[in-house]
């Protein structure tokens, strides 16, 4: 990175944070600190909801998914529009009617204190873990490729977000997210334009799509009923529906964003904004990855995209096995490139038979190329058994650093940090709010002043920030990073969602039945997760269904507990 890149990066990050602190310097009541001044329009809410969900992992890791596996990951979001419709129609009106600060207050009104605390505790557990991942994920990648110290990257980015989130509360999060999202989209669109410009001059966009499609990178929809496939239309629609319903309907980091709207209308339209735009947004990020694959068919790629790890491996490889694999990979790539040219020439000439033959040969060459890559990864791991061999997360950042002009590199790195800060801020804000409202004010100190609760909320936000920092400093992740976040969510979300669905739709089920049912269902999900190999998205459905069924059975077994299912506050 050059001086210009650092000026763009540091200027944009510090400028946005300082603006958030300055604009929210007068938030002294608990209501304005936790929910803002409730003047947010639908566009601000929509942007805030989008920025909260889209972490740095989305922009660093997703293009790598597109490069490696194609567009199939977009199916993960197929359940989201339906979930957002349900949240707008059922959850949001209920939260606004009861005027709650947190989603778990609703559980307390509907059931009892222990169910409220269980919901809040499950949220704090899974979101606390995810908060560590969202700060660790970009830091490990950026520090590796930029040569920065990992601990300093984590601490400096973590402290910045802690300061402005604790200082300004909910409004600071929403205000800064608006400008951070502008930096993110500015960076991603610039990267896509530069990528298209850098494709070979004689390669049309149709040719690029032909190559991507020929190598199966455009297979976006898979209608198969194979439960072992990670992403299918059905797992995305059903599992994704439950994941999204739980995330948007019951996760305080999202609930806090849309209950801060000026009216019910603004909140609903903000959610519908995301319901319409999320799938095309994810599609374009994945397409960027698929086009990166095409780009690297004409430009020699590294045999292993985590170049820092590769360099370390080379130093510990006295037999120069890694070096010989690099040469072997380059030779196969050159052969593949010629076959792709032959394939496209045949296509342009209208010779279907030659086109088919050249394409088949190019696919075979690609398999040989992947075999060399697999061999290289094994050889790299032989130099150090702890070496991570999944390099998908490094594909996009490698392209950014090697092929974008100075200034734009700074913009892209700023975009990654902006995404990290925006999602992290919403998480810390929600963790601080839930700890204050559902635990501290509810159990420890019930009759303090507003100013006391604001101070407590700031302290809890700071505390959660430090916990996330500690987790990030000691994290060691094996999965692709974006999958790791979704897996943690999927293990917990189904049960939390079930608490709310029982509250809304099974009015004869009481707090005791749903509380024990939730604990049993969560245990079941843990056991299944460690014993089955099905797509993790299904755990959202399994956890939810198990909790609902157990609740009905337990309520039938214990009979009426004297509590009506009507919400007490109504």
């Amino acid at each position: 990175m050059s001086l210009l890149d650092f000026v763009v990066l540091i200027g944009s990050m510090l400028g946005i944070a300082a603006y958030g602190i300055w604009r929210t310097r007068d938030r002294h009541s608990l209501s304005t600190y936790l929910k803002g001044d409730q003047t947010m329009g639908w566009a601000a809410i929509g942007i805030s909801v989008m920025a909260t969900q889209a972490s740095a992992i989305t922009f660093i890791s997703t293009p790598g998914q597109g490069y490696q596996d194609g567009l199939g990951f977009v199916q993960n979001y197929f359940g989201m529009p339906l979930a957002l419709i349900m949240v707008a129609a059922v959850f949001l009106p209920m939260y606004r009617r009861l005027n709650v600060y947190t989603a778990y207050e609703f559980l307390g009104r509907r059931f009892d204190a222990k169910t409220r605390l269980l919901g809040a505790a499950l949220f704090l557990l899974q979101r606390g873990l995810a908060a560590g991942i969202t700060i660790y994920a970009p830091a490990i990648i950026l520090s590796t490729v930029l040569g920065w110290r990992l601990d300093l990257t984590i601490i400096l980015s973590g402290l910045l977000v802690i300061i402005y989130t604790a200082s300004g509360g909910s409004d600071a999060v929403t205000l800064t997210q608006k400008y951070q999202l502008a930096v993110i989209f500015g960076g991603m669109v610039t990267a896509l334009i530069v990528l298209l410009v850098k494709l070979p001059a004689n390669l049309s966009l149709t040719d690029a799509f032909t190559v991507a499609g020929g190598f199966k990178k455009l297979e976006a929809v898979d209608f198969s009923l194979d439960f072992n496939r990670r992403y299918t239309f059905w797992s995305g629609l059903l599992g994704g529906l439950f994941l999204s319903l739980s995330y948007f309907g019951t996760d305080q980091s999202q609930v806090q964003r849309y209950i801060s709207g000026a009216s019910l209308r603004e909140g609903r339209l903000g959610l519908m904004f995301n319901a319409v735009l999320k799938i095309p947004m994810q599609f374009f990020i994945l397409l960027l990855g698929a086009l990166l694959f095409v780009f690297y068919q004409f430009e020699p790629p590294p045999v292993f995209f985590n170049q820092a790890a590769w360099s370390v491996g080379v130093q510990h490889d006295p037999g120069e096995h890694l070096h010989s694999l690099e040469q072997k990979f380059a030779a196969v790539h050159s052969e593949k490139q010629q076959l792709i040219h032959a394939w496209l020439d045949a296509k342009h000439a209208g010779d279907r038979q030659a086109e088919g033959e050249a394409r088949a040969q190019a696919l075979a060459a690609n398999e040989r190329s992947e075999a060399v890559r697999a061999e290289a990864k094994s050889a790299l791991q032989a130099t150090n058994a702890k070496m991570k061999t999944n390099d998908a997360d490094y594909v996009f950042i490698t392209f950014v650093l090697n092929h974008l002009p100075h200034g734009v590199i700074g913009l892209l790195v700023a975009a990654f940090f902006a995404a990290a800060l925006s999602s992290k801020a919403a998480e810390l804000n929600a963790l601080g709010s839930t700890t204050t409202v559902d635990f501290y004010r509810h159990i420890i100190k019930r009759d303090a002043t507003d100013a006391h609760y604001v101070t407590a909320s700031k302290c809890f936000t700071l505390l959660w920030g430090l916990v996330a920092l500690a987790f990030a400093l000691f994290a060691n992740l094996a999965e692709n990073l974006i999958q790791a976040v979704n897996i943690v969510g999927s293990v917990f979300y189904g049960v939390v969602l079930a608490l709310f669905l029982v509250a809304f739709f099974l009015r004869w089920v009481g707090g005791t039945a749903v509380f024990w049912a939730a604990l049993a269902a969560q245990m079941l999900v843990f056991v299944l997760y460690f014993s089955l190999s099905i797509s993790y998205l299904w755990y959202n459905f399994i956890g939810c269904a198990a909790c609902v069924i157990f609740s009905i059975a337990l309520q039938a077994a214990i009979g009426s507990d004297g509590k009506t299912a009507e919400i007490r506050a109504t």
């Binding site: 209501s31 529009p81 005027n99 455009l218 929809v221």
Partner: protein, 60 residues
């Protein structure tokens, strides 16, 4: 076992009047009801899936 929630809820700070208007107008030019908005959003989802399927089929 913890006590029921409502005595504690009553001890918490008083809240502002709650919003109860579920029939609020959408304020959109062509979609006057929320049911219409939801159908439009669902239609967009179907359109996205159809376009993705078409892209996959054309370039497979």
């Amino acid at each position: 076992m913890m006590p029921p929630d409502h005595p504690i809820a009553a001890a918490e700070a008083p809240r502002e009047p709650a919003e109860t208007n579920n029939n609020e107008a959408t304020g959109l030019p062509w979609l006057h009801t929320w049911r219409g908005v939801y159908i439009f959003v669902f239609g967009c989802f179907v359109l996205w899936v159809a376009l993705l399927f078409a892209l996959m089929t054309i370039f497979s």
